[in-house]
């Protein structure tokens, strides 16, 4: 299984970059794949890829503001019956490539 360090890198590569910057999301493929596949194996190349990403001029979408805002939870403690149910008809999910 991939290591926790590798998973942490993947989280940053997908989620943090995705949330914070559309320009980074449109960034060079080479950096993307290097960060995804070398994470935890070759720290030098992974770090270099990180540098590539941080060098890009991000266009923020207000992610930092969003994260700081209190979010009113609705139904957080509601019983299952009160939780909206995605249709059970098969398939009720998006295509899976496995």
């Amino acid at each position: 299984m991939p290591s926790s360090a590798s998973r942490s890198k993947l989280f940053h590569t997908i989620v943090v970059v995705g949330l914070s910057s559309a320009s980074a999301a449109c960034g060079p493929k080479e950096a993307t794949v290097a960060r995804a596949t070398d994470a935890g194996k070759d720290s030098a190349s992974a770090d270099a890829a990180d540098d590539d990403a941080s060098d890009a001029t991000p266009v923020t979408f207000g992610a930092s503001d969003a994260a700081d805002e209190p979010v009113v939870g609705i139904g957080n403690n509601a019983p299952d019956a009160a939780i909206p149910c995605v249709r059970d008809a098969s398939p009720s999910c998006w295509p899976i490539y496995v």
Partner: protein, 252 residues
């Protein structure tokens, strides 16, 4: 005009593999080739949803490109299937897909949940699956193909996260996602279980085909380490979904 099938250098040692291994890998790759076409169909829906939401053009652009990416992935897997197969492997044809529906949700809410469900959840989970495949693969053509697919799937997952981080998503939208996160994760997880149940028994790790048990483990880890923390990072209340995850919801 049909998309070009990538030319993969057929490794000389493929011919030396036992027939069972060649069939296993060829069948798995052919299966993935067909499934990737469904991904292309899904991204036609996502692209339209993002247009209807008047999303940032760069996000729409990523989604539109994803349609072609998924067609390319299908071609990559088909080439692998043909490289390993001992008989002819027909090219799959695209088919319409059924799109998840969220009862009682507004049209724009449906679109938001579609983007989140397909990209933030499904494509992020797919990245974890591909990471697992790539980690074990040693066959050069397989590694090359998996790397290409993974780098694209990372960008596809970012579509959802980028939209969630955009100014188009405010408190009301975050509450909607929070309300639907648990049922969406549950439905997607069931889908993964159903899909994994159809996998052939066994594994050929060195050729990018891990076992169903390993895939399930990676999928669980992706929810725990990527998807749920991702939503929290996006300012989404995940307590309900986390409760489902921690209470053994993955068992069903």
């Amino acid at each position: 005009m049909a998309r070009d099938e990538p030319s993969l250098a057929l490794p000389g040692d493929v011919a030396a593999l036992d027939v069972e291994t060649r069939r296993f890998v060829a069948t798995t790759a052919a299966r993935r080739s067909e499934l990737e076409l469904r991904g292309a169909a899904a991204f036609t829906v996502i692209t339209q949803a993002l247009i209807d939401l008047r999303a940032d053009l760069r996000i729409v652009d990523l989604a539109a490109r994803a349609i072609g990416d998924e067609l390319d992935h299908s071609a990559i897997y088909l080439a692998l299937a043909r490289a390993y197969a001992t008989n002819d492997v027909p090219a799959p044809r695209p088919e319409p897909i059924e799109v998840p529906v969220y009862p009682g949700v507004s049209d724009d809410g449906q679109r938001l949940l579609q983007v989140v469900g397909m990209c933030s959840i499904n494509e992020t989970m797919a990245c974890s699956f591909l990471e697992l495949c790539l980690e074990g693969a040693t066959a050069a053509p397989v590694r090359a193909g998996l790397r290409t697919v993974l780098e694209d799937e990372i960008r596809h997952a970012r579509i959802g996260w980028a939209y969630l981080g955009s100014p188009d998503v405010g408190d009301a939208e975050r509450r909607l996602v929070s309300d639907w996160l648990r049922p969406m994760l549950r439905a997607q997880w069931r889908g993964w279980l159903d899909q994994m149940a159809t996998l052939p028994e066994g594994e050929r790790i060195e050729h990018g085909c891990p076992s169903a048990a390993a895939i399930a483990q990676a999928a669980r880890a992706s929810l725990r380490d990527l998807v749920l923390p991702g939503f929290a990072e996006a300012g989404i209340d995940i307590s309900n979904a986390l409760g489902w995850f921690e209470s053994g919801g993955l068992a069903s």
